[in-house]
């Protein structure tokens, strides 16, 4: 007995369509509250400096100034988004303490009756800074004598005591020794700003019952709530986070960056507080997709089989790691590719520099690895004189093949997917490729 399908197979109107085309959809920043204060941030004007003092006296005299918040006002002044899943150490400061590590780092929050007054007060805060040498290149950051970015003394995130996330299968040097060709490549990508049209922001509102309602355009509502509770050292049930329509995110609104300080400001003033990034903050301060440098070295046989692959990757995490350690782990698991290679060695470094922190953006860790990997595959095809389809079919995972992280492939579908893709774009594949399947390799084909 089958029930009639109301949705599957039909075109369904989006529930938010009318709101969007009439402009009635309510976004976070469209809300106003009586008595609402405006929060603007005093930010580091330099890439790296010792912060010796903050002089608020002139700012305090600006008409409309209400109060400022500095590091000492924050109950637990550590912002470590991945601490929720056990990532250590706690390294980023909600408001800077004695050092700033990137241009734009938050130093002091200024609250005022109007946005203009807040901007004016921010302009009048004097910082006593001792500028320090800065580093912007991932490999330079790893050289001896490079400026040290983190407070614990290493410019790499540590994975179980190692400076990189490591993946090992077989013996990659032995593979290179047997190979007919060595194919090398280095791939660089730039940081990318997600650039949502609605900038990151929230409004924190004190309620009569002692709770705080936080209207936010975060993409990660419960991450935001939990981190805010940790930073403010309050039970989670005192916070009520209200999400809703997000005016574009693309990963750029995953970091929990505006809610804790806005909520703290609401607590300290007992007034609603609006903290919405300006466009330049969105571009210059909010996390970007990381810049990457990826080195490939592949040992390839004349028949196109890849028998050894060594990858060394560096992700530019910027001044703090945020979600990059996680991204690196995903990267290390994926950058070997959906290919069966018996000897693989992957070292993936999460590197600290004095750039603005990088974090989530659509497939982060994997996307840039795939770019490098697939260009490298084309390069291999060229070296051994095979077409790009053939090189991929030859090396594609099949059920039972061992992946670089030593798990056997199950439910492999790459071959079937490529066959379907070729058909869709009207590319005629040779009969031997069309005949292939993801079934386990026979003894004759040789296990991988």
């Amino acid at each position: 007995m089958s029930a009639p399908l109301n949705v599957v197979g039909r075109s369904v109107d989006r529930s938010d369509g009318i709101g969007h085309v009439t402009g009635r959809t309510l976004y976070t920043g469209d809300r106003t509250f009586p008595g609402m204060l405006h929060l603007r941030m005093v930010r580091s004007p330099v890439h790296h400096a010792r912060l010796r003092g903050i002089d608020l006296s002139a700012a305090e005299r600006v008409p409309g100034f209400v109060r400022a918040l500095t590091a000492g006002d924050v109950p637990h002044n550590r912002y470590t988004i991945l601490s929720l899943i056990g990532v250590e150490p706690e390294e980023e400061f909600v408001l800077a303490e004695d050092r700033v590590r990137f241009k734009g780092e938050a130093i002091a929050a200024v609250l005022a009756e109007t946005e203009e007054a807040a901007l004016e007060a921010v302009s009048k805060v004097r910082l006593d800074l001792e500028e320090l040498p800065a580093v912007f290149d991932v490999e330079e950051a790893l050289r001896p004598g490079a400026p040290v970015v983190t407070h614990w003394g290493s410019n790499t995130f540590m994975y179980e005591g190692h400076p990189c996330r490591r993946v090992r299968l077989g013996d990659v040097e032995a593979g290179f020794a047997q190979a007919d060709h060595i194919v090398e490549g280095v791939y660089n990508t730039s940081p990318i700003e997600q650039a949502p049209i609605e900038t990151t922001g929230c409004i924190a509102v004190p309620e009569a019952n002692g709770r705080y309602t936080v209207y936010t355009n975060t993409q990660a509502l419960y991450f935001s709530l939990d981190n805010t509770a940790i930073i403010l050292q309050v039970p989670g049930n005192r916070l009520h986070f209200v999400g809703g329509t997000v005016g574009g995110g693309f990963g750029g609104k995953v970091d929990v960056i505006v809610e804790p300080i806005a909520t703290l400001a609401a607590m300290r003033t007992n007034r609603p507080v609006r903290y919405v990034y300006s466009r330049s903050e969105e571009m210059q301060v909010s996390s970007t997709r990381s810049a990457w440098r990826i080195y490939f070295k592949d040992g390839v046989m004349n028949d196109g089989r890849i028998i050894a692959r060594k990858v060394t990757s560096y992700a530019d995490s910027g001044a703090y790691s945020r979600q990059t350690p996680y991204s690196l782990t995903k990267h290390a698991a994926n950058v070997g590719g959906p290919y069966a290679i018996p000897n693989v060695s992957i070292d993936a470094y999460c590197v600290y520099t004095n750039r603005q922190p990088s974090s989530a953006m659509r497939g982060f860790g994997v996307t840039m690895g795939s770019f490098a990997l697939e260009v490298q595959m084309d390069k291999i095809a060229e070296v051994v004189g095979l077409d790009p389809w053939t090189i991929r079919f030859l090396n594609a995972y099949r059920n039972g093949d061992l992946k670089p992280h030593r798990k056997p492939a199950e439910d492999a579908t790459l071959i079937e997917t490529m066959q379907a893709a070729a058909a869709l774009v009207g590319h005629e594949l040779p009969a031997e490729l069309l005949a292939m399947t993801s079934a386990p390799r026979t003894d004759r084909e040789g296990g991988r």
Partner: protein
């Protein structure tokens, strides 16, 4: 930010060095400068108005000669404070003799703070270079005794 440059002035370096240490001359040649006073043998304070596209403001300026080897070399510590923040730094200038003329070579580093720091570094450096260039051109004109042309502001 870093600013460096070179310019040839049509006067002997003793004259140039003296001019650089003379408040009246500085008032006349610094673009937008409308007051200057000598606080001590080595310190000046002045007011400079800057009118730029979209930006106006008057800046309190303090300059101290912290090291000098007349007429060859001087080191200046300076601070400029105004509505758009501050610029604090140190500059070295060298004067070299060349056929009765003087080659001025300057090199400075400064920390820019406040709203100014949020502009592209190119702007602040470009503007500083522009002001110094105009100032030296004005100085040259004055040293040649042709300083009656109307003083133009940076804009």
């Amino acid at each position: 930010m870093n600013v460096r440059g070179t310019r040839v002035l049509d006067a002997p370096r003793e004259v140039v060095f003296e001019a650089v240490c003379d408040p009246d001359t500085l008032l006349a040649v610094i673009p937008g400068c409308h007051s200057i006073e000598q606080v001590s043998a080595t310190e000046y304070r002045g007011q400079i108005s800057v009118r730029l596209p979209g930006v106006v403001g008057t800046y309190r300026t303090t300059v101290r000669l912290v090291d000098a080897d007349p007429p060859e070399r001087g080191v200046l510590d300076g601070e400029v404070v105004g509505p758009l923040g501050s610029i604090t730094g140190r500059a070295t200038f060298r004067l070299a003799e060349a056929d009765g003329r003087t080659v001025v070579e300057y090199d400075g580093q400064a920390v820019v703070d406040g709203p100014l720091a949020r502009l592209d570094g190119r702007f602040v450096e470009g503007l500083a270079g522009s002001l110094i260039g105009q100032g030296l051109a004005n100085l040259n004109a004055r040293l040649e005794g042709q300083h009656d042309a109307p003083k133009e502001t940076a804009r």
